[in-house]
Symmetry: C2
Subunit: 169 residues, 2 copies
């Protein structure tokens, strides 16, 4: 089977969000076992001016739904960014994974040269579909997933790289 | 231009290692300006049983040279893992980037179903080329690049996500 925009986008994204979901469940079990107020982990950060765990999960899912939707020529759905618990962050991941699973190859394939525009603070970025996926969206998703992992690991949740990687395909 | 195994492997990998190189240079300048012994950053980690910055850079480059070499059917070169300074880690990145730039599309394209085997502690993993790239190698590279960033950010080096992302393509 030849690589395609569909295979390079939805599948790895679903995979990393699914692994992040399991990581958050481990964090919830860790907090419960040690009687840690779960909001401590939701609000944890690696440095005072870095974003907390909740925002890392929110932005990872924003990039996930945003990238696949935009490659398909659709407006990504808006989420509220109002999660305050690990369970709510897990629900956000579930909602995003369910959305990603609705996309079909014919919606994404052939989007290599599609013009993608997205507004970021203070400017509008314009890409072609392939560099958008490979050099912007995927690195962005991994950035926030790994940062979420790092925040939890730094806070003593017992995680290893295999929790992030998931089972070999 | 259609997405290909070549375009999905070498180019994003070169990009993220190049950005990591610039991040290490900022870390070196930060340490020098504040008279921090640079070995402090090289040996910094986010948790006592996590690997330090030096190992994050080593493993990121191992995965980078390993993945592209294996997709091309070549044995990846062995590096010594003896870097003890930021300058030596930058040199390792340079060596890896230079290697990645030698690969040509015809060496990598069509490797979707190529059997890839790699030894990890205690077992041998077997993949087909495409899931190896998309679900193992790239997430692995990003894991270590982002962890390196997180270690430096946590230690007060003034970095932002754009240092990790690099300039828009």
């Amino acid at each position: 089977m030849s690589i395609s925009m569909y295979l390079a986008s939805g599948q790895p994204t679903i995979r990393t969000l699914t692994n992040l979901r399991a990581i958050l469940e481990k964090a919830a079990a860790h907090a419960e076992a040690r009687e840690i107020d779960p909001s401590v982990l939701v609000n944890a950060r690696l440095y005072p001016d870095m974003l907390p765990l909740s925002a890392q999960v929110q932005i990872a899912t924003d990039n996930a739904k945003g990238s696949v939707s935009r490659l398909a020529g659709l407006e990504p759905p808006k989420y509220e960014d109002n999660e305050t618990t690990l369970a709510e962050l897990v629900a956000r991941l579930d909602k995003t994974i369910a959305l990603l699973k609705t996309f079909r190859p014919e919606q994404i394939d052939g989007s290599e040269d599609k013009t993608i525009t997205l507004k970021v603070p203070n400017r509008t970025l314009t890409f072609k579909g392939m560099p958008y996926l490979l050099e912007y969206a995927l690195p962005n998703i991994y950035f926030h997933v790994v940062t979420a992992y790092a925040i939890l690991r730094h806070n003593g949740v017992e995680l290893g790289k295999m929790d992030y990687m998931g089972k070999p395909a």
